[in-house]
Amino acid sequence: MLEIKNLHVTVGGKEILKGLNLVINDGEVHAIMGPNGAGKSTLAYAIAGKDGYEITQGSVTYNGKDMLAMSPDERAGEGLFLGFQYPVEIPGVSNMTFLRSALNSQRRYRGDKDMAAVDFLKLIRLRASELNIDPEMLKRPVNVGFSGGEKKRNEMVQMAVLDPHLAILDETDSGLDIDALKVVAEGINRLRGSDKAILMITHYQRLLDYVVPDFVHILAAGRIVKTGNKDLALELEAKGYVGLGITENAA
């Protein structure tokens, strides 16, 4: 269970999140929508522990542990996965090597042994085929020369292999064609389960046609201003933020 209380986050001297509250129980899928500049990505980065995202007030606890006291890799070890809006290129490092190092590092954090190379190969091939992803992609350097769609598919393979308990997907659906969008949806739906908590950050209703959320929140000006079920997303799609009475300056 993820519990965010009164979270205030400052980036470059400017307060972006201004007292955000959110609880995600295991088994739930939440979607956060909101106008540009509302602080959606800031929320994702603050939870994951990126440098430069200064927490000035509030708390983030995950399964009772203080997430804010941990380094980003420790948070990953605790089961957090962040699907990036702009996945990063790492030249010369194959996807395979990258993911195996990451998985084994997480396993060591949890006190498990490294996964044997053969078992890892089987696992990653299985996960790639489930998502209909060409295994050749796994041999290429991480995200180097990948199209936007390939990068997002790659995020989904990583998520499937790492099998996180808490997944935050930061606009993983933006800029995707319908096939890639389906891969992303498939990835999320496969992860979905009674012991998983999922938070999707999205601009569009489109993804929610394929992954039906339990809750939809609207984030504006650094706070969650409205919460509902999937119908809220449809209403938003029909009326727009202004139509719902939400402006950039909601605060």
């Binding site: 430069g52 890799d73 957090l80 490092v93």
Partner: protein, 484 residues
């Protein structure tokens, strides 16, 4: 203790015979500090060298005296007092070294552990006197036997001076002339030992040759001399050094390596250099001034240098190829890492002399801390070198804001048919990359190591397998503390 006694006896015998009246306190097992003709005569006598070799050394010394220490490299260090150095020390005895691993610097042991080095090997590397029963000895013995069957000569330079004088006369100093530079002249005067390799015609050396397996190599690192000759149609892969940091009290290192390939022969020479780099504040550390050069004398012959340089306070090193034979090929693949206050000025020289010669240079420099890494490379195409080709790629990676990277290419073309390409890039490890890796669960230092290994991949894949795995770990260890 037996070894000590033997060493003392040898010294006694030698100094007893010594007609120039040189007297040394044998208890110290070291010749006095400083350099003069007597010291050189002593070294030569100690090694029971033939007269011609002593004369050769003395000529080198005379030349060295007239030379100036070079200052053109982009490295900065206090002036070396060449009279304040020991030029000869008998092999380390059990009395000198630590008695057990308990007496060894725990920091060093931690590094060995990270590299996955066995306890026995740790003892050897850190200089603990080991009763010689450990695995490598039997390996070495079977090893030498197998090589002998193939007609391969693999022995110390001292042995070669006795057993193969004709070859030694022919090849010693034939690629790196005595007075080539200040440090090659110094080495020629005082070299204490090194390795001699000869691969006969048509023989493909059945294993990677490595000094590591030559047990009698202890404590000769300071002024090492290496000669490798690949006769017609032969092939050898030679590994120099060791990925583990080596215990060493000598501050100045000036080695000379000469490679010779005849028609259709190939030498692949790989180095991992991990001498003590000094502490975090730039105190101490090895000065490494090395002259390495290969001559592709035969047609269609090939010399390939691959180096991973992570150690030493100062590195001054330009493994080079003279492409003399028509169709010969020179390659240089280099990774140089500097951290804290380390300084490296390294690169290569590719001299195209024969027709249809080609060379490839791939250099990866990584700077962290307050260090400085310079790539300095020369591509020279002589007038007669029709259709010469060169491809050069120099990439620099910076970690942090206080380090420096320089690329200094020299290109001299005297033949209009030459095709020369030069590419250079400079990049930084970005916060985005680090965060991405960390978010996937990698600790920050592992993230740096992974990114750096990716950056160096083109070079690392040229290392022999067993070296490459350790070298990868080494890159990470060398950059510890460089981020965060």
């Amino acid at each position: 203790m037996a070894a000590t006694k033997e060493a003392r006896q040898t010294v006694e015998e030698v100094s007893g015979e010594y007609k120039y009246g040189f007297v040394t306190n044998i208890e110290t097992e070291k010749a006095p500090k400083g350099l003069n003709e007597d010291i050189i005569r002593f070294i030569s006598a100690k090694k029971k060298e033939p007269q011609w070799l002593l004369d050769w050394r003395l000529k080198a010394y005379a030349k060295w005296l007239k030379m100036e220490e070079p200052t053109w490299a982009m490295v900065d260090y206090p002036k070396i007092d060449f009279q304040d150095i020991y030029y000869y020390a008998a092999p380390k005895s059990a009395d000198d070294g630590p008695k057990s691993l308990d007496e060894v610097d725990p920091e060093l042991l931690r590094t060995y552990e990270k590299l996955g080095i066995s306890l026995k090997e740790q003892e050897v590397l850190s200089g603990v006197a080991v009763d010689i029963v450990f695995d490598s000895v039997s390996v070495a013995t079977t090893f030498r036997k197998k090589l002998k069957e193939a007609g391969i000569i693999f022995c110390s330079i001292s042995e070669a001076a006795h057993d193969y004088p004709e070859m030694m006369k022919k090849y010693l100093g034939s690629v790196v002339p005595v007075a080539d530079n200040y440090y090659s002249a110094l080495n020629s005067a005082v070299f204490t030992d090194g390795t001699f390799v000869y691969i006969p015609k048509g023989v493909r050396c059945p294993m990677e040759l490595s000094t590591y397996f030559r047990i009698n190599e202890a404590n000769t690192g300071q002024f090492e001399r290496t000669i490798i000759i690949a006769d017609e149609g032969s092939y050898v892969s030679y590994l120099e050094g060791c990925t583990a940091p080596q215990r060493d009290e000598n501050q100045l290192h000036a080695a000379v390596v000469e490679l010779i390939t005849h028609d259709d022969a190939e030498i692949k020479y790989s180095t991992v250099q991990n001498w003590y780099p000094g502490d975090k504040n730039g105190k101490g550390g090895i000065y490494n001034f090395v002259t390495k050069r290969g001559a592709c004398r035969g047609k269609n012959s090939k010399i390939s240098w691959t180096q991973v340089e992570t150690g030493s306070a100062i590195t001054w090193k330009y493994p080079s190829c003279l492409l003399i034979g028509d169709g010969s090929v020179g390659e240089f693949y280099s990774v140089a890492i500097t951290n804290n206050y380390q300084q490296a000025d390294t690169g290569t020289k590719m001299i195209h002399i024969g027709k249809n010669t080609s060379s490839t240079i791939i250099s990866k420099g990584i700077s962290a801390g307050k260090s400085s890494a310079t790539y300095r490379g020369l591509v020279r195409v002589m007038a007669g070198a029709e259709n010469a080709r060169n491809f050069t790629q120099c990439d620099s990676l910076l970690i942090g804001d206080l380090c420096a990277a320089h690329t200094i290419p020299y290109i001299e073309i005297k033949n209009p048919t030459a095709q020369v390409e030069h590419e250079a890039t400079t990049s930084k490890i970005s916060d985005e990359q680090l965060f991405y890796c960390q978010q996937r669960g990698l600790e920050v230092e592992d993230s740096v190591a992974l990114i750096v290994n990716g950056f160096c991949r083109d070079v690392m894949q040229n290392l022999p397998m067993e070296f490459a795995v350790e070298a990868q770990k080494l890159l990470g260890i060398s950059l510890e503390g460089s981020v965060g």
